[in-house]
Amino acid sequence: MLEIKNLHARIADDGTEILKGVDLQIPDGQVHAIMGPNGSGKSTLSYVLAGKEDYEVTEGEVLLDGENILEMDPHERANTGLFLAFQYPLEIPGVATMTFLRTALNANRKARGLDELSTPDFMRVVKQKAAELNISMDMLKRPLNVGFSGGEKKRNEILQMALLEPKMGVLDETDSGLDIDALKVVSDGVNALRDPKRSFLVITHYQRLLDHIVPDVVHVLSAGRIVRTGDKDLALELEARGYADIIADAA
C-alpha cells in the first residue's frame, strides 16, 4: 500500500512549488491512473517518489507499506520495492544493457539478503522476460538505451520492472511513443505483473492505454493537486471533454 499524504514539493534550485498538497492512497493489488495537463506535476510526483535530488519535499509524507520512504536514499527506495519507469529513459554509452540489468538485479537481491544470481541463471531469467516483451538479445548487448527507438526504450523499462519485481510500479507515460502492437505487448507485460500484493501508478495522457491496463481508480492532477478522482469512466469523460471543465469545477 502506497500512501501519499499532503505532499508538497518544490524545485530545489529556484524554490518554485510544483506539488501543492497531493493526497493519494493506492491499496495493494490496485492500479491507479493519473491524468492531467502538461506541466501539472505528474513527472515531478514520480521523481519525488523515487527521490530525485532536484526536488525538495517541504511538507507531507509518503509511506510504502507503512515505511516513510522520503527518508531513504533513491537506491534504498528502489530496493524497498518502488520502481519508476521513466518518461524519458536515459542513454548511457559504455554501459552494456546486460551489465546494467545484472548489476541492478544483484543489488536488489543483495538488499533483500539473497545471493547474487549466477551467470546462467541470470541469462535464463533475462532471456525469458525479454522474449515476452519482444526484446531481442542483440538489443541487450548494446549500450544502455543508446540508439534504441522510443518504443524500445519503453519496453526496456518494463523489462527492468519485470526483473526487479517491485511492490509498487510507477509508470510515467510508458505508452507514449509506442506503436499499436508495442502498446499491446507492454500492457500485457504490465498485466502479467499484476498481483494482489503489487500495485501500480500509471501516468498517461491517453485513455487507450487504460483499455489495456484497466485502472481501479483514475485521478486528475492539475497545478500540483489532485482535483478529481473517479473510476475508469473518468478517463472516457476526459477524452471526450478535455480538462477545462474539470479544472474550472475544482477552482
Binding site: K52, D73, H75, F86, V95, T99, A104, A107, A111
Partner: protein, 436 residues
C-alpha cells in the same frame, strides 16, 4: 662573467650540474658522444629546469615541482619484475635504466645493449638542446645503458615484447632509454611498462624512440604505473614511414608527478596513427600528457582520443598539438580530450591546438571537462544500484569509450583491468576516508 646572465639556481639545478660533472667520466661513449652529452647539458646550465615561462611547460613547472634531486642510481644486481601485463609476453627488464635480464626473444627480433652501441659509436645522442625537448636532453646527457630492439624486415612477431622500466625502491635518479626499430613490412607489439620505486622519491627520465619503416604495423601499450612518490618524465617519439599503421595506448595512473610526451611524425604517405590515452589521477597527483603529431607529408590519418578522471586535489593536463605542413594535403586528424572532475579541488587543463598550413584537410579537435551527470546517476540509483557502484559504472563507461581503437585487442583487457583496479582502490580509499 656578466652578473646579469646569472640566474639563481635552485638546489635541484645545482645538484643536476654537479651530478653530471661527477658522472661524466663513467658514462659510455666516444669523444663525439661525450660532446653531444655536454651540449645537451648546456641547456640546463643556461636555462635550468623547464619552468612555467616556457610555453610547453606552462602547466608543469619542474623548477617548482622538483625541489630536490635524488642521487644518480647505480646498477643494481637484482630486482624482481612483475608478471607480464599480457600473458605470454617476452620481457626485457631494465632496472634504473640498466639491462638486468631478458627472456629468449622470438626469431626476427634482435636485442642489443645501448651501452655497447654507444661505446662503439653505433648510436648517436644528437638532438636539439631546446627546452621543448628537455626530457630527451636530460636523458641523452645521462643515459648509461638501455636496449635497442630490432624487428627484421617482413617479420611478423605475434608475441608481445614487454620492456619493463623498473625503478629500484630507493630515492634515486635514473635515465632509461630504448630504441625500437621496426623493419619494412614487419609487425610487432610492444609494451612499455613503467613501474617500481615503491613509495620512494624516485626520479626518472625514460625515452623510447620508435622508427617504423614502410609498410610495417606496430601496436604500443604504455603503462605508466610508477610508485606513489615518483617523478616520471617520459618521451615516446615515433617516426612513421609510408603505408604503415601505428597504434598507441597510454594508461597513466602512477607517479606523483608525471610528464609524458608523445611525439609522432609522419614521414611517408598513406599512413595512420591512432593514439588513445586514459588518465586516472587522485590524491595530489600531477599527470601531464603532452602530445605532438606532425603531419609532414600528404594523405595520412591520425586520431587522438584522451579521457581523464581526476579526483581529490589532483591535476590533469592534456596538451595536444597537431601540425599539418603545407605539403600535407588530404590529412585527416581528429583529436578529443574529455575529462571528468570528481571533486571540487580536482583540476584539469586541456590545451588542444591545430596548426594547419595545408588547405585541403579534415581536422578537428574538441575538449570537454565536466562532472558526472546527475541524471545518469539518478537513473542507476533508481534501479537500486548503490552510489559507489553507480559511480563506478559511469566512470568505467566514460573511460572505456577511449579504447575503441583497441576493440577486442589484448591491450583492451589490460586497460579495462587497470580501470577496474583504479576504481576499486579508489572507492575503497573514499570509504576509508569517510569512515575516519
Amino acid at each position: 662573467m656578466n652578473a646579469d646572465l646569472k640566474r639563481i639556481r635552485t638546489e635541484a639545478e645545482t645538484d643536476l650540474l654537479e651530478a653530471f660533472a661527477n658522472a661524466e667520466d663513467q658514462l659510455p661513449g666516444r669523444a663525439e658522444t661525450h660532446a653531444a652529452r655536454r651540449a645537451r647539458m648546456a641547456l640546463f646550465e643556461r636555462e635550468g629546469l623547464p619552468h612555467r615561462r616556457i610555453e610547453q611547460w606552462k602547466y608543469t613547472d619542474l623548477r617548482t615541482l622538483v625541489r630536490q634531486l635524488a642521487p644518480l642510481a647505480a646498477q643494481t644486481a637484482n630486482a624482481s619484475a612483475p608478471a607480464p601485463a599480457v600473458e605470454g609476453a617476452v620481457q626485457i627488464v631494465l632496472v634504473d635504466g640498466f639491462i638486468m635480464h631478458h627472456d629468449a626473444v622470438p626469431a626476427g627480433v634482435e636485442l642489443r645493449s645501448l651501452r655497447t652501441a654507444l661505446e662503439e659509436g653505433a648510436v648517436e645522442l644528437e638532438g636539439p638542446s631546446t627546452a621543448d625537448r628537455a626530457i630527451d636532453a636530460l636523458n641523452s646527457a645521462f643515459v648509461a645503458d638501455g636496449v635497442i630492439v630490432s624487428i627484421a624486415p617482413g617479420a611478423s612477431i605475434s608475441t608481445p615484447l614487454e620492456i619493463v622500466f623498473l625503478k629500484s625502491p630507493s630515492a634515486s635518479m635514473s635515465h632509461s632509454r630504448a630504441h625500437i626499430i621496426v623493419g619494412e613490412g614487419a609487425q610487432a607489439t610492444i609494451i612499455e611498462r613503467h613501474v617500481g620505486g615503491a613509495g620512494e622519491a624516485v626520479q626518472s627520465t625514460i625515452v623510447t624512440r620508435y622508427a617504423v619503416a614502410e609498410g610495417a604495423s606496430l601496436d604500443v601499450l604504455r603503462v605508466q604505473d610508477d610508485g606513489a612518490e615518483a617523478v616520471h618524465l617520459g618521451e615516446t617519439a615515433i617516426d612513421i614511414a609510408g603505408d604503415t599503421a601505428v597504434r598507441l595506448m597510454h594508461l597513466g595512473t602512477g607517479a606523483k608527478i608525471a610528464r609524458v610526451e608523445t611525439r609522432a611524425t609522419f614521414r611517408g604517405e598513406g599512413s595512420r596513427f591512432d593514439v588513445c590515452g586514459v588518465t586516472m589521477a587522485a590524491r595530489r597527483q600531477h599527470l601531464d600528457h603532452t602530445l605532438y603529431v606532425d603531419h609532414l607529408v600528404p594523405g595520412c590519418e591520425s586520431t587522438e582520443t584522451f579521457r581523464s578522471v581526476i579526483d581529490d586535489a589532483a591535476k590533469g593536463i592534456f596538451q595536444g598539438k597537431i601540425v599539418v605542413a603545407q605539403d600535407a594535403q588530404k590529412t585527416d586528424a581528429q583529436m578529443a580530450s574529455d575529462a571528468l572532475l570528481l571533486s571540487e579541488t580536482a583540476d584539469m587543463v586541456a590545451k588542444p591546438e591545430l596548426e594547419i598550413f595545408a588547405d585541403d584537410v579534415s581536422c578537428a579537435h574538441g575538449a570537454t571537462c565536466g562532472e558526472l551527470d546527475d541524471d545518469l546517476m539518478f537513473y542507476l540509483l533508481a534501479r537500486g544500484i548503490p552510489h559507489p557502484q553507480a559511480r563506478k559504472l559511469l566512470l568505467h563507461a566514460f573511460l572505456s569509450e577511449a579504447l575503441e581503437t583497441f576493440d577486442s585487442h589484448a591491450f583492451e583487457d589490460v586497460a579495462l583491468a587497470a580501470i577496474e583496479a583504479w576504481l576499486t582502490d579508489h572507492a575503497n580509499a573514499d570509504e576509508a576516508a569517510s569512515a575516519s
